[in-house]
């Protein structure tokens, strides 16, 4: 089978042509921050703006999730220009995130904490004013709780929900700062239209979707 060879952070890598740079890096245990990337989704949404990298010969940093790998590509994931963009994007996300790690169910297993560690950035933004929305928490589903104040609008739950239920329960509504992951008419998620597959909770990178006490499938099994 045809392959392409490229270099990421000095490491020589072979990959299938047409694969996305972000995927290839992650599979070769080179971490690039990302939230909205979904493996099987044909078109990357490229909305989280956290996977910027620098490619030799390119003038500006590019998002790794949208770039196909090519022969002889030389990639630097630690370029200053790229990291400046990533840091700014991350700070903006955190400026409207209801930060409360100590009481958050995702503490220790949170993508935001991981990204902060990777960037050596603080979870609390100092440069920007905190702008919180104080939206109501939805605990109408028997299995999980949805706290929109911790949502980063990555779209992972929306995607996975539509893989399981043809008429998807989740989606995005409203515009601009008011944009929110929600249900039809902003009604409680409840139990009747949801299959309780709880895969949305599994894919949530933050504590926005979390299992209720004792409802995590693994704890139920054993």
């Amino acid at each position: 089978m045809k392959t392409v060879s490229l270099t990421i952070d000095g490491k020589k890598i072979t990959a299938r042509p047409g694969e996305k740079l972000l995927r290839v890096a992650l599979e070769n245990s080179i971490y690039i921050p990302n939230l909205c990337a979904i493996r099987d989704k044909p078109e990357p949404s490229a909305s989280c703006r956290l996977c910027f990298v620098e490619i030799e010969g390119g003038e500006e940093p590019v998002t790794a999730c949208t770039i196909d790998v090519t022969e002889g590509m030389v990639v630097n994931t630690r370029g200053e220009k790229a990291l400046a963009l990533v840091r700014a994007g991350f700070e903006l996300l955190m400026a409207s995130h209801a930060l409360d790690c100590a009481h958050c169910p995702a503490n220790g297993n949170c993508e935001l904490q991981k990204i902060a560690r990777h960037l050596k950035a603080s979870l609390k933004t100092k440069r920007l004013r905190l702008l919180l929305r104080e939206l109501p928490i939805d605990d109408s589903n028997p299995l999980f709780t949805y706290d929109p104040n911790k949502c980063v609008l990555c779209g992972r739950c929306v995607w996975v929900c539509r893989q399981n239920i043809k008429s998807g329960v989740f989606g995005f509504a409203h515009r601009g700062f008011e944009r929110v992951m929600t249900t039809f008419a902003d009604e409680p998620i409840g139990a009747d239209r949801c299959l309780d597959c709880s895969q949305c909770v599994e894919v949530c990178p933050t504590g926005a979707l979390s299992f209720k006490e004792g409802k995590r499938p693994s704890t139920e099994d054993g």
Partner: protein
Amino acid sequence: MTASKQETTTEEREQIKQETGQILNGFSRKRPGLIPILQKVQGKLGYLPREAMTAIAEYLDIPAIDVYGVVTFYNQFRLNPPGRHSIKVCLGTVCHMKGGYITLDAWKRRLGISPRETTDDREFDLDTVACVGCCTMAPVTVVDDKPEGVVEPTRVDGILLAFGYERETKDKEKSESD
């Protein structure tokens, strides 16, 4: 803005379903038709009630939340029925400087609704606009398509009083003619 809190009667719901159905029959079942369909349904009903949105989603075979997402994205679409009188508060740059948001607060308080909502008696609907082009009169409120200048909270009461007066005289005329 949230989904319509307006109560619809069973009769209204039947009518909504019937009229939406009639409009849908003129369109193919393809997703790109969503916005033209929404425009036509709103043109007929004046707003997009819940029953219309679910009927459209079913017809196009897409999740209802996607219809709701488009409706809440564009300012053109409304989830609440239009009131008999429309109140549009300007929040353009100059009106903002002159305290347009204070005027908006006054309207919200007096009518008991948020922007893009309608009062329970369907007498008034409230919305915001971004500049109507008469900044010298700031802060401006457009009342039934007529721009009113220097609408400060006291003027809000004045405008409402005039409507109340109008309503009363209309009632009086009616009772006299009966």
